[in-house]
C-alpha cells in the first residue's frame, strides 16, 4: 500500500503543476493540457477494466463516443440544459455497458477484446449511417459549451474550460482512487490474478465484473462529453477503433494497473503527437517506434520504470 501513497503524491504534484502551467502558457498549449486531462480520465476509466480487472477492451471508444453523441443530441435537438444533457450522456454509456455485458461477460481475454471491438464498431456504423439523428459523417457541429450559472466563471474561453476540466479531472481521479483502493477494488485485483480462487473464496465474480464495467463506462462517458465540448463538435471518429487503440496504448505506455500511469501515458501521447506532427507527417510512425521501444525496455509501463529507477538510485545512495 506504500505504492498507492507514492501515486497519490505524484498525482497531487501533477495537478498543481498542471494548474500553474495551464494558467501561464499560450492558449494553444492550455488546449493541449486540457486534452491531456480529458484523455487522462478516459485512460483511467479503461484501466479499471484492463489494469485492475484483467479485461482487455478494444472498444472503449463506444462509451466515450456514445456519451458525446447523446449529450450533443440532447442539447442541440431537444435544448436540454447542461446538467440534464450531461447526465443523459453518462447514463447512456452506463446503460449501454450494462446491456452489452449481459452478453459480453461470457467471454474472457482475447475473446473479450474481439467482442468489445465488434460492439464499438456497431455503434460507429450506427453513427455513420443514422444521418437524421447523428448527422452521419459530418457529425454534430456547433455544440456550445454551457453556462454553468452566473455565479461561476465562464467556460467558453480556453482557459476557463481548462480549469473546468481540471476540476472534473480531480473529482473523477479521487472517485476512481477510492474505487480501486476499496474492498471492491481489491476484489477486482484478485479476479485479475485468479478468478477461480476468488469464486472458491466466496466472491460472486460475475457481479464484480459487471459493476466494474458500468463504472468504467460511466467515466469514459464523462471524458467523451468533455472532449465533445472541447471541440464543440462530435463525429463518428469519437467512436472509432483508432480512439479505442490510442487509449489502450496510453495505459500500456503509462503503466496498467496503476491509476496515474495512464494519465502519464495520456500526457506522453498528446504532447508527442503535437510535437512530432509539427516536424513530420509521419508522426504516427515515430509514436509506433517509441511504443515498441517501451514494450521492449519498460514493458510494465513508464511509471513503473521510473519508480524502479528512483528506488534503485535511492538504494545506491543509501548503500
Amino acid at each position: 500500500m506504500g505504492e498507492s501513497r507514492w501515486g497519490l503524491w505524484s498525482a497531487i504534484a501533477f495537478v498543481l503543476v498542471a494548474a500553474a502551467i495551464g494558467g501561464i502558457v499560450p492558449s494553444y498549449d492550455t488546449g493541449l493540457l486540457t486534452q491531456v486531462l480529458i484523455y487522462g480520465i478516459f485512460a483511467m476509466s479503461l484501466d479499471v477494466l484492463h489494469g485492475y480487472t484483467g479485461m482487455p477492451s478494444l472498444g472503449h471508444a463506444a462509451y466515450f463516443g456514445l456519451a458525446a453523441y447523446v449529450t450533443a443530441i440532447c442539447s442541440m435537438k431537444f435544448g436540454w440544459g447542461f446538467a440534464a444533457a450531461g447526465a443523459a450522456g453518462i447514463a447512456a454509456s452506463a446503460l449501454a455497458a450494462a446491456l452489452f455485458h449481459l452478453l459480453a461477460l461470457r467471454t474472457t481475454h482475447s475473446y473479450y477484446l474481439m467482442i468489445t471491438l465488434a460492439f464499438s464498431q456497431v455503434l460507429w456504423s450506427l453513427a455513420v449511417s443514422w444521418t437524421d439523428v447523428t448527422g452521419g459523417d459530418n457529425g454534430i457541429p456547433g455544440v456550445m459549451r454551457p453556462s454553468l450559472g452566473s455565479w461561476l466563471p465562464s467556460v467558453s474561453s480556453t482557459i476557463g474550460y481548462f480549469y473546468f476540466v481540471l476540476v472534473i479531472f480531480v473529482v473523477s481521479a479521487a472517485m476512481l482512487y477510492i474505487f480501486v483502493t476499496s474492498p471492491f477494488g481489491y476484489a477486482l485485483r484478485g479476479i485479475r490474478d485468479n478468478e477461480m480462487r476468488m469464486r472458491a473464496l466466496g466472491y460472486h465474480v460475475w457481479a464484480y465484473k459487471y459493476f466494474a464495467t458500468i463504472v468504467s463506462a460511466a467515466f469514459a462517458g464523462v471524458a467523451g462529453e468533455l472532449f465533445m465540448y472541447f471541440n464543440n463538435f462530435v463525429s463518428p471518429s469519437a467512436l472509432s477503433v483508432t480512439v479505442s487503440a490510442q487509449v489502450l496504448m496510453m495505459i500500456l505506455v503509462g503503466a496498467a494497473g496503476t491509476l496515474f500511469g495512464p494519465v502519464l501515458g495520456a500526457g506522453v501521447f498528446v504532447v508527442l503527437q503535437y510535437v512530432l506532427s509539427t516536424y513530420t507527417d509521419r508522426w504516427l510512425f515515430v509514436i509506433g517506434v517509441i511504443y515498441v521501444l517501451l514494450a521492449l525496455y519498460a514493458p510494465q509501463g513508464a511509471l513503473i520504470y521510473l519508480r524502479d529507477q528512483v528506488k534503485a538510485r535511492q538504494r545506491r545512495s543509501a548503500g
Partner: protein, 249 residues
C-alpha cells in the same frame, strides 16, 4: 448435522467415469483422508463438492443443505473452503493483500466501493493475526510469485482458513514439499481446531495416516475401502492397487 454428505455421486467426462456412485459422509470435527493413485478421481470429487464442476448424477449436502446445484461462491458462504493441488494464489499481489482478499470475502465489506480498504481495521487486523499465527508475518510485503514454493503452499492453506470455514477441503497440501516443509504443513493441519472438519487428499501416505481419523481409498472413480488407518493398513486389496501405481501404504 453432518458437515458433508454425498449420495451416489457420479461425474462423466465423455465416456470416462471420473467418479462413479461415490457415497461419503463426514462427522463434525472429523479428519478424513482420501487416498488413491493418480486418476482415481480424488480431485474430480473435490471439484464437484466445491462446485467447480456439476455432477452427472447424485446429490451433495453441506450442513444438511442440498447444494447439488448451488453456485460455488454460495457454498463458500455456507462454510466450505478449499485449497488447490496446483497452487492457486494471487501471484502479482503481496502476501498481506492475498490475505486481505481472503479475509474480506465473507464479511459485509466485500462489495463496498465507496470507502478505502485501509479504513476496515477489523479486516486488516484479522489478516495480520492469521499471518502471525502461521508464521508468515516476515513475508507480508513480498509479492507472492517471488516466494519459495513451500511458503506458497503454506499461504495456500492459511488463505483457505481466512473465512473461518467449518469444512476444509485440502487437495494434496504436501505436494512438492521438502521433508521439513511436510512436517510443518502436517503440524498446521494437526493444530487446526476441532470445530473445523477436514477432508484431505494426500499422496504422502505417512502424513495421511498421521493426520486422519478415517481413510477412504479410491480407485478408478470408486470407493474401494474405508476405515481407520489400522484397518486400511491391513487391507490387502489396497496393496495390489498401490503396487500397480508404484506406491505402498
Amino acid at each position: 448435522m453432518k458437515p458433508l454428505e454425498i449420495r451416489d455421486l457420479s461425474r462423466n467426462f465423455g465416456g470416462v467415469r471420473a467418479i462413479a456412485d461415490v457415497s461419503l459422509s463426514l462427522e463434525a470435527g472429523e479428519r478424513r483422508a482420501i487416498i488413491g493413485t493418480n486418476g482415481a478421481g480424488k480431485t474430480t470429487l473435490f471439484n464437484v463438492v466445491n462446485g467447480q464442476i456439476a455432477p452427472s448424477s447424485g446429490e451433495i449436502f453441506l450442513f444438511g443443505v442440498n447444494v447439488t446445484r448451488t453456485p460455488l461462491h454460495r457454498r463458500a458462504a455456507l462454510g466450505l473452503a478449499r485449497t488447490f493441488q496446483i497452487t492457486s494464489l494471487f501471484r502479482n499481489l503481496s502476501v498481506i493483500e492475498n490475505m486481505i482478499i481472503a479475509v474480506q470475502a465473507l464479511t459485509p465489506a466485500h462489495f463496498v466501493f465507496w470507502r478505502r480498504l485501509a479504513q476496515y481495521r477489523e479486516v486488516l487486523g484479522r489478516a495480520e493475526t492469521l499471518l502471525e499465527k502461521w508464521r508468515l508475518t516476515e513475508f507480508r510485503h513480498e509479492i507472492v510469485r517471488n516466494l519459495s514454493y513451500g511458503t506458497q503452499r503454506q499461504l495456500e492453506i492459511v488463505m483457505a482458513l481466512a473465512g473461518e470455514p467449518k469444512l476444509l477441503l485440502l487437495d494434496e497440501p504436501m505436494a512438492g514439499l521438502s521433508a521439513a516443509e511436510t512436517h510443518l504443513a502436517t503440524d498446521i493441519i494437526l493444530n487446526l481446531e476441532r470445530g473445523i472438519t477436514v477432508l484431505l487428499i494426500e499422496h504422502d501416505l505417512a502424513a495421511a495416516f498421521k493426520i486422519a481419523d478415517k481413510i477412504t481409498a479410491m480407485d478408478q472413480g470408486r470407493i474401494v475401502a474405508e476405515g481407520t488407518p489400522e484397518d486400511i493398513r491391513q487391507e490387502s486389496s489396497l496393496q495390489k492397487i498401490y503396487a500397480r501405481g508404484g506406491m505402498r501404504p
